[in-house]
Point group: C3
Chain length 378, copies 3
């Protein structure tokens, strides 16, 4: 056990030069949607032509929030106060009653990409927004899977949500009333942690273990099973692949193909330093037509993640009050520590970049229009 | 379009040396009323002899709020904690169980003037309280008019309320569900803005325009009409005179006498830097006996001003978050900019005066008794 | 009347090296109880063996609050997040799935003493926790008395609660709807104030006074009575002894034995600089079997102290807003001023001690284990 510091202090609260998940499925429509990401208030909307736009949610004229009663008019959004209209690049294209519009009348726009039913947004310098970095999540688009989605707002720093999913020993205690099982059996799990660039992959194996009743009900296993959980962290999101199969079927990467599979996407989108938009989707490869089962699994997931929410909010309150007391890590915190190191590195890199260019991202209230990189299709 | 800065920053949040409206009609009675003006907590009450008093709402003994259960006893107010009594000049005249009262036991009192059913209060140095500066509003006292009144608390800086009434192009957008009409017709309005000392007068003319159905119902107009709105701003209040008449009747100042008239008084009394007591009265010169109509007009006004309230509170939240981003003015902001200039000038003058005299108004917790100028009759 | 300053400013908000009341009667059980004292979040619990433990409410591992779903397991408490267990000395004795536990994995524990059905806690340096300083309150343990207890959270600094009980002239005004009586008669009271080390004793005599109807009903007095109130203040608590007896029975200390007696314990436990845990018990020596009377007296006490709570919260709000305006004392504030002087002296002594030892109590997040002095029996 090393005394790795996992404290709550940081130079910057966010990584701006990063792709975040702004919404899933049908979240974003022709009705303006207010959403705060990296403490920047945004208005998101879909234009008549189908493009998703993300603008600073603040009219350049009098500071009014465009989302608070604004209207989407074809390819523009209209301010609810004096009727000014802005295009998807943040340029004001009409002021009622006036013939000319000053080029100063504009607001910031943000690059967005829609892919696999997920809307991704880049919160930093638009020049660095590379859609090739956006991961695939094919289970949303493949008809051999069925998926559902849920949203929770968690009053805790986004890194506490990362930690939570990267140390699964909490399941037996925090979730004893939902998905928790046998603490002794769980303590046998073999754990492997690997860092790969900006990713951390944690794998947990439970080989030749008793099949939990719920798994038997779901998939009809007859005897003992092998179980694998693969948690893949990248700042902004976590993919969690959970599979169960007959004993022996897991060898030679068989666990990626055989048996029962859940593919979870956990969007961990920072809203403020102490509030996080937590959106999850849950895809599975079995009984895909069984709607009642989909609802049952969704309800259990919601109850489970609400347990996390309640706990993380208490944890945040304590760490807000005692920011200077270092936390003490255990051997189970290996993946957690790697993830925090990646975040620290990216934050330091970003701060260094801002210092080289002489200005921080937050200091640029209205950077040059980003329409060119807006609505990139990956 | 000039980039006039209308930002939210200011040296001082208030003008203290100014008359504000503390109440209208029967607001102030023998029951103590708590009211915060220019961030000073006040207790207002009417003594048995009929005078209105305004004291700092804070007992000199233990800091208790006199309004929180205090009692008016003839010409004094009694503290609800240990029963100390203060007169209308803020002097403690009795401590139960003690024979002598220290001259230190006193609190600040504020000059008040009651005129035309409006209670005016001076929040600055009592020596400068000149009742001659208080305007008349004869429609409250003249039986050829009928009036109603409403009160709203708006969680926004008072200057945002000024701006709102000084750029009426917002009516077509912010009030589309209440009093908004025809945006294209409205864009034709002829606008004139004049500064006159500490006043800004904005006049909007719509000549030979279609009569809105509501106006026809109210007054029985047969054909097209002339419409005028005159908005007269002074820091602390706005008078808005709105009149409609048959085409042609408006010439040669005829619009001041002929046709249908609404005289609105908008009291814009700063409570804190981000909260404003908004009191309005609405007087009219027609169907003065029709109580159902009075109620109908009052209800429509309330709905309209509640739309403003909701919007201004969002605007304030955005401007609180981004105090350093300058707003961009349009040609419609001429009156707004003039009003803000007057406020800035008065604030600068006041700060300079405080510096000359060596102390700010806020630094004087208990200035010498102001009983002499208290309850001035204008 | 001297202008003694009783202002709200202070160097330190609390006295840490002091015994406070953490609970009464059956408050503390095998179910973890969250309680904040001197702005330190605590978890209190009773182990299977009956000892009361008080730990910092914050797991050393990830900062989770132990009280938020933690479980008492025999002599330990288990963290609700990852299942770590801590003993009553704050030492982590088990981490699920790991064989060794680092000696760094520990949290602060606090000395506690249970005596006369009251749980006392020492919030400062454990070395100074002398149980001999804890007072007796035998009325809780003596069967010739009956007692009831109540709890209120008051959003005011604890010293305002001290002031309240040390100037009883407020009773006739603040409690006119409950226990207030005759203001003129009350003004006749003879008052004596004595300081004795860290104690202030205020005695109020009303000799040969009319018997209030409620007293007649309670005890059956036939004629006029003598009344005494003795208020004994020590930082952290106040004992209030109130007795009534036939005229003449009070001489020669007779008032301590004869007639009708109420012994009140007022625990005034600071939670934050502006929130106080106010727990009272009320013991009496007459009609001890009459449960309906016990409930009637309890209900009247609650109503009375809720009047204090409402008032003190307003007072706190005013004094928070105006921290720099000195309050003006009256002759009735003699005891109040003495009490505040004692508090100032103890705070100054504590700050000086911290400076001598080179570290403040608040700077020591995890001092050495205090198990040795924990659960002292007085």
């Amino acid at each position: 056990m090393r005394a790795v510091e996992l404290d709550g202090k940081r130079e910057s609260a966010f990584i701006f030069n990063n792709w975040y998940i702004a919404g899933t499925g049908g979240d974003i429509t022709g009705e303006p949607l207010a959403r705060r990401i990296c403490d920047i208030p945004l208005v998101l909307f879909r234009t008549r032509s189908g493009a998703v736009a993300a603008l600073e949610d603040r009219c350049a004229h009098r500071g009014m929030a465009l989302s608070a009663g604004g209207k989407c008019l074809g390819e523009t959004i209209q301010c609810p106060y004096h009727g000014l209209e802005f295009d998807t690049g943040g340029i004001c294209v009409r002021i009622p009653g006036l013939e000319r519009v000053s080029p100063d009348m504009r607001i910031r726009s943000f690059p967005v990409v829609e892919k696999d039913a997920v809307v991704w947004i880049w919160m930093g310098d638009a020049a660095g927004a590379d859609p090739a970095r956006i991961p695939s999540h094919p289970y949303h688009s493949d008809s051999s899977y069925v998926w559902s989605r849920g949203v929770l707002e968690v009053n805790a720093n986004w890194e506490f949500l990362n930690d939570n999913l990267l140390d699964l020993t909490h399941v037996q205690y925090a979730h004893r009333n939902t998905i928790g099982g046998n603490p002794d059996e769980d303590a046998r799990a073999q754990i492997k942690v690997q860092r790969n660039g900006r990713r951390v992959v944690l794998t947990r194996w439970l080989r030749d273990t008793a099949c939990p009743p719920f798994h038997k009900q779901l998939y009809g296993f007859k005897g003992r099973i092998d179980r694998v959980q693969e948690v893949e962290f990248t700042p902004g999101y976590i993919f969690l692949h959970s599979s169960s199969m007959d004993v022996g079927d897991s060898v030679d990467e068989g666990w990626r193909r055989k048996g029962m599979h859940f593919y979870q996407m956990h969007a961990i989108t920072p809203q403020t330093p102490t509030r996080t938009l937590y959106m999850f989707t849950m895809s599975r490869n079995f009984k895909t037509e069984d709607r009642a089962l989909t609802e049952q699994i969704h309800a259990l997931s919601m109850r489970t993640f609400e347990e996390d929410k309640a706990m993380l909010e208490v944890q945040q309150a304590r760490c807000t009050e005692y920011p200077d007391i270092p936390l003490v890590a255990t051997k189970h915190d290996t993946a957690t520590a790697q993830a925090r190191r990646i975040v620290r590195e990216m934050m330091a890199e970003e701060v260094a970049g801002d210092q080289r260019s002489g200005s921080g991202v937050k200091d640029l209230p209205r950077p040059v229009g980003t329409a060119a990189v807006n609505n990139l299709r990956a």
